[in-house]
Symmetry: C2
Subunit: 204 residues, 2 copies
Amino acid sequence: MSFTLWFVGLPSCGKSTVARRVETKLKERGFKVENLDGDNVRQNLHPELGFSKEDRGTNNRRIGFICKLLNKNDVVAIVAAIAPYREYREKVREMVEEAGRFVLIYVECPVEVCRSRDPKGLYEKAERGEIKNFTGVNDPFEAPQEGECQIKIDASEQSIEQSTQAVIDGLELLGLVEPRSASGLTTEEEEVVKERLRNLGYLD
Amino acid sequence: MSFTLWFVGLPSCGKSTVARRVETKLKERGFKVENLDGDNVRQNLHPELGFSKEDRGTNNRRIGFICKLLNKNDVVAIVAAIAPYREYREKVREMVEEAGRFVLIYVECPVEVCRSRDPKGLYEKAERGEIKNFTGVNDPFEAPQEGECQIKIDASEQSIEQSTQAVIDGLELLGLVEPRSASGLTTEEEEVVKERLRNLGYLD
């Protein structure tokens, strides 16, 4: 069964960066992966949508539909999108799970840290009232609770590399990705090697 | 390289029926295939869209974006949608061809024949003015010309089976599908069989 990884979190929390690293890791392990970056999808799918609650819901729903189609065809879908409303996240989960596993990854980061990392100065603009509906400043973010998210990343304490590893570890625990041993082999590959050694009389 | 098959034609010309048969044939040959039926996509992706020229363009563009994502991941995309405007079809072609081959299949059928096959009586309703923007009655259909469509089906003369075969033949000619010989094997499979017979001394 394929799966969808949906990274949620405040603007500039680092979700797109970690999502891209995870994408690379999964491709290295032989998965087909499509990374649907929130900004890119908005541009291509529906540039006319804004950031009202309703438009955010529509954005999430449509991305969810695409994830479902990808999962149905054994393509892992990765999404980095704020997705601030629980009710829309739950609708997406329902839709995706008709075809694959939906894994919500909460990229947790205090708003002050996000603000300090913000390369485009969007937080400041929002604070000056130049941007409306800016999540974390003048628009709500309903943080995923324990029961809702499958993996949580502490993006203010962990390095990008640590966060990426935490996601891979989480996927292994969920049984979606084959664990690698210290040898760098999957348990399946290890079994093949052991079998050969056994046949050659080197192992009992 | 993967590909997108876009079946265009008047309402009730038979495009969805042939599209489903082609889907089955391609799956039998080992392709991963996603069939994006026009009505189904509208329901799931954007039920709020109507049938104005602009809305039809938006519908086509979004489906095209999904086809591109599927093709990028080696999934064949099949679409059955009226797509009456040449300019939007050309935009879709441009977008899809960033990732795969775009094959326009024109399911040609005289409007009287479509009307006689129409199971829901939509043509009659449109003629009575109960449906607006109904392609073939009170909305235009810009039939694809020679240069635009890669495969043309005569849906009033051919049986569904013949139309399906015409599409498969066309895909073989375009080099997108491996031809099958009279033996039912692909040329590649035939080569393997020949090689074995050669090794056994049955063939020079």
